[in-house]
Amino acid sequence: MADIIATNETILVVGGGISGMTAAIEAAECGKQVILIEKGPSVGGRVSQLYKYFPKLCHPTCGLEINLRRLKGNKNVRLLTMTEVSEVSGEAGNYSVTLKTTPRYVNENCTACGACSEVVDAEFDDAYNYGLGKRKGAYLPNKMAYPQRYVLDPQIIGTPDATKAKEACKYDAIDLEMQEESNTITVGAIIWATGWQPYDANKIQPYGYDRIANVITSVEFERLMDPHGPTGGKLLRPSDGKEAKDIAFIQCAGSRDRNYLKHCSRICCMASLKQTTYVRERYADEGKATVYYIDIRAIDRIDDFYQKVKADENVTFIKSKVARIDEDKASGNPILHGVNTEGYHRYANQHDLVVLAVGMEPSVAQDEFPVKVTINEEGFIEQDEANGAIFAAGCSADALDVNRAVQNATASALRAIQVVNRAAGMEG
């Protein structure tokens, strides 16, 4: 990768989710030189794992398609996948950044024909589907993956599978000798857009995610509904593969809770409201949803979506933080215990499936951040002069929905442009 060209007029964007892609593309479409790095093998991030967006119920892959086309067509952006920042030094307008690239074992000759995948035997949990399904040891991360290039799982390197994959490739695209690379580049500004991860539901012990098969997370639920998902879009519950028609949504699973994440993750209320519509879409009148909540946070003009869902007779709202879940051993149905605090009504409700609306945990590595920036208790990067020309974008900055994350990323692109324009003598 000796051909990375970067100067103090270059903007480095860390993270290829929707925020990072947006920041990179918006800056590039202003004529700026951008290096976009992504830790994983393809861009798209969390939104590429969603079935639909709220409140429009449109598909995230639609916007992704547009962004990919913008990215593919723009020569100002250089995309480096499987790459992370290992070191940063310097100051605004002149940073020296060391990038670490892990081997993909597949080079740009790959045509995505899939021959390698066909011959490889080893299977691993599919991270794209949050482990709900398996993928081969040679794989395309997903159908929309860009770069559209296969990846060899490092776990098959040194096994006969790796050799088989190499032999199956007619295009000399598999390079088993690929090594980790390190490159140090100069950039003027850095946009940090490493996004978020779903809060680890295992930690929310009262809900038995680790013990009860039919307790799943909201992000997993998205995968179950998605035609690209492990069930081909069928709402089959884990315990017995039966269709789940009566579904409970538990809000603030990990959010607004001093035991877990103390912040409100903002997106979960709308996400669950959206998911209630999936249930109705699949099963019409047979589909039932119950939302257990503390406050429904359908903020600003999209409150009308909440009003619409609330008007649906098959969707029930219970103001309650569910106390605990246990399992009806015979049916596998989770039983939710708690109290509806609007008037004090105790319940022990059985549902086919429970969806935990898990919180948004920033992926900003608080202790390992490569350079000193201001990170708040919640783990988000604060806007601070002291951060120099390191600007957070999207969910590195706050718990944001897609719309606000993109807004924030667009703003961050301008902040970075201000710095590189100054470096370029365009002043300001």
């Binding site: 012990q205 038995g208 605990r324």
Partner: protein
């Protein structure tokens, strides 16, 4: 391994002729094997458990535990305080935490203690015996002393409340702590998987004032153990032990059940596995005889 010494707070129920006296017998046997020396806090007093609140206010209650800590500091200040009773441990540890957390409270407490000529710093660790076993010996260390593995016994590990919440054992979750299961396994017995009522409440001290309500809880605890195929229940808490074991007759009478489930302490399991006799393991103190343990102990 050299002898380990702790400042020991036995608590009221462990005294001779008290409800958990057999617990103390087994703890002594277990410590003997593990080469643990328990140095009793001189003139320790009751912690007031979790039921002293009506009569005592906050400060009088905390003062009780503070007095024990003060006495421990005087006698063996360089040792950790260890309690075998869940309520004793909880009250003492809670007092320590609150005193260290709140300067004003520390001042007030010392003012009160001064009336009895005492002074507390609350710097000693306050630990439950289970913590000592897990942290200072480790499962492997505990396994080394097993002479008679408890083969063929299936045991429901009933953790209960107060060794579990609000402090709990480090690294364990409130809802599904695994340490008791691991201890059972370490002694060669088989733990009941996913024991549903592992951390359910037995009614605690309210067994006395609200017996009916408590019996309903206990019934579920025993029933779940039977459902899991358990031969006996094991617990780290004297209140749990007493409540779950001693009221089975009454529960049977009320619910037409036929419960006859032995309830033992972890230390009894260990004593037997370590080759101690049934008497040394306090098995003669069982209201419901733990036959399978007795058999192994008798071999």
């Amino acid at each position: 391994m050299s002898k380990k010494e702790y400042s020991f707070y036995p608590g009221c129920s462990s005294q001779k002729g008290a409800s958990a006296s057999n617990y103390q017998v087994s703890v002594d046997s277990m410590c003997d094997v593990l080469d643990i020396k328990l140095n009793e806090i001189p003139d320790w007093n009751c912690c007031s458990a979790s039921i002293g609140y009506a009569g005592g206010g906050v400060l009088p209650r905390l003062a009780l535990s503070a007095r024990n800590m003060a006495l421990s500091e005087q006698a063996h200040g360089d040792q950790d305080i260890v309690a075998t009773c869940a309520a004793c441990w909880l009250a003492t540890r809670e007092t320590k935490e609150r005193l260290l957390h709140d300067e004003a409270l520390m001042k007030d407490t010392n003012e009160a203690l001064a009336a009895g000529g005492l002074k507390v710093e609350a710097k000693q660790n306050v630990r439950h015996m289970v913590e000592v076993l897990i942290e200072d010996f480790g499962y492997d260390g505990l396994a080394k002393n097993v002479k008679k593995p408890l083969d063929g016994i299936k045991i429901a590990g009933y953790v209960g409340c107060q060794t579990n919440r609000p402090f709990g054992i480090a690294g364990e979750s409130f809802e599904n702590p695994k340490y008791l299961d691991k201890l059972i396994e370490t002694m060669g017995a088989e733990p009941v998987e996913n024991y549903d009522k592992k951390v359910s409440c037995c009614g605690g001290a309210l067994i006395f004032s609200e017996p009916e309500k408590s019996h309903a809880l206990i019934k579920d605890i025993i029933e779940a153990a039977y459902d899991g195929g358990a031969d006996m229940i094991v617990t780290p808490c004297p209140v749990c032990q007493l409540n779950v074991e001693a009221y089975q007759d009454q529960i049977n009478a009320k619910y037409k059940t036929k419960f006859n489930m032995p309830v033992v302490y972890y230390s009894q399991l260990m004593s037997v596995a370590y080759g101690k006799s049934g008497k040394e393991a306090g098995l003669d103190g069982q209201v419901i005889a733990a036959r399978k343990l007795e058999e192994i102990a008798g071999k």
